[in-house]
């Protein structure tokens, strides 16, 4: 990592710290869903992709089967595959560094890397690594804090934790709704999920809404 530019480091670290604090919400949600503090921390170390982690514990908390939780998390994880395809030619790494690069290939590291394009390839690489490793560090620290905090609090509803989890999902969804078409997809998905809820076993409506994404994505627009 030569030619460290101050603005790239600043961009990367501010994203890493901000996003890392969301880990508190994950740690709390995970413990509220019945996972132990250790399991919550392992999630953030090993899975390390926020939306998938929230989905897995969310489906379990809704009473859904393990397969449904795993499938929802995996489907949310497929976007990291597309990020990897974009990042691999940029990073040009092999062996253990490639494994580490893969683990920190997430929304934020890819986003910051792409945003550094005007500053050149070296800045893009630095943005990817500093953001990816930075989010990894802060996300794990804050997960532990959230998990310990939730365990100390007791009844989740009494502290509003049962509303904090859907609010966190709404917060993750919000920045993605950049066009009217995407807002229509979101509202349709919510309506669809509410419609099928009484007719399907608990937890299955979540994974079933993928149908809505398929319908809206089928034709070019």
């Amino acid at each position: 990592m030569s030619n460290l530019t101050r603005s790239t480091v600043r961009d990367s670290l501010s994203v890493a710290l901000t996003v890392g604090t969301y880990g508190v919400a994950f740690g709390a949600a995970s413990v509220a869903a019945g996972f132990s503090v250790l399991q919550s921390c392992l999630f953030s170390l090993l899975t390390f992709t926020g939306a998938s982690q929230f989905a897995a514990v969310g489906v379990v908390s809704a009473g859904g089967p393990a397969a449904s939780a795993i499938a929802a998390a995996a489907m949310l994880g497929t976007r990291n595959t597309l990020y990897g395809i974009q990042m691999a030619p940029l990073l040009q790494v092999k062996g253990i560094r490639r494994v580490v690069a893969a683990q920190v290939t997430i929304d934020e590291s890819t986003g910051v890397a792409l945003s550094q394009a005007p500053r050149g390839i070296a800045a893009m690489r630095e943005g990817f690594w500093i953001t990816g490793l930075g989010v990894f560090l802060f996300w794990n620290i804050f997960t532990l804090a959230g998990a310990l905090g939730a365990r100390a609090l007791g009844n989740p509803a009494s502290w509003g934790l049962d509303a904090a989890v859907p609010a966190a999902f709404l917060g993750l969804l919000w920045p993605r709704l950049q066009t009217n078409f995407l807002r229509v997809v979101a509202v349709s998905s919510m309506a669809f999920a509410m419609l099928v809820t009484p007719w399907l076993p608990a937890g299955l409506p979540i994974i079933t809404t993928v149908v809505v994404a398929v319908v809206f994505g089928w034709r070019a627009r």
């Binding site: 990897g84 691999a88 608990a202």
Partner: protein
């Protein structure tokens, strides 16, 4: 319950890492199908929307509109006001807890 949580943790971690690594290993052309890419871009939106519903207004297999909805309404207002993520979550939690204790 304990076994289920370990299975979910193990399988989710293995699959999510494999998906990340796959991106670093396959040639770009493999996933170039435009329809697949369009659907893939919408999947997070559909799943996150469904998760808002499942966590916000569902108990088991019933729609239940309770204190959580008050929290979600405040979260929505906070997002419209461009509040940062932690503020959104804490405002929702505080509102929901307040309404919960009113009963």
């Amino acid at each position: 319950m304990t076994t289920v949580t370990w299975i979910v943790l193990g399988a989710t971690s293995a699959l999510c890492f494999s998906l990340k690594l796959l991106g670093h290993l396959v040639p770009e052309a493999w996933l170039a199908n435009p329809r697949l890419q369009r659907i893939n871009a919408l999947v997070p939106i559909s799943l996150l929307s469904a998760l808002v519903v499942a966590q916000g207004v569902v108990v088991k297999t019933h729609l239940v509109f309770d204190h959580r909805l008050a929290g979600l309404a405040v979260a929505l207002a906070a997002l419209f006001a461009k509040a940062p993520f932690p503020v959104v979550v804490v405002a929702a939690a505080a509102t929901s807890a307040f309404v919960y204790h009113l009963h």
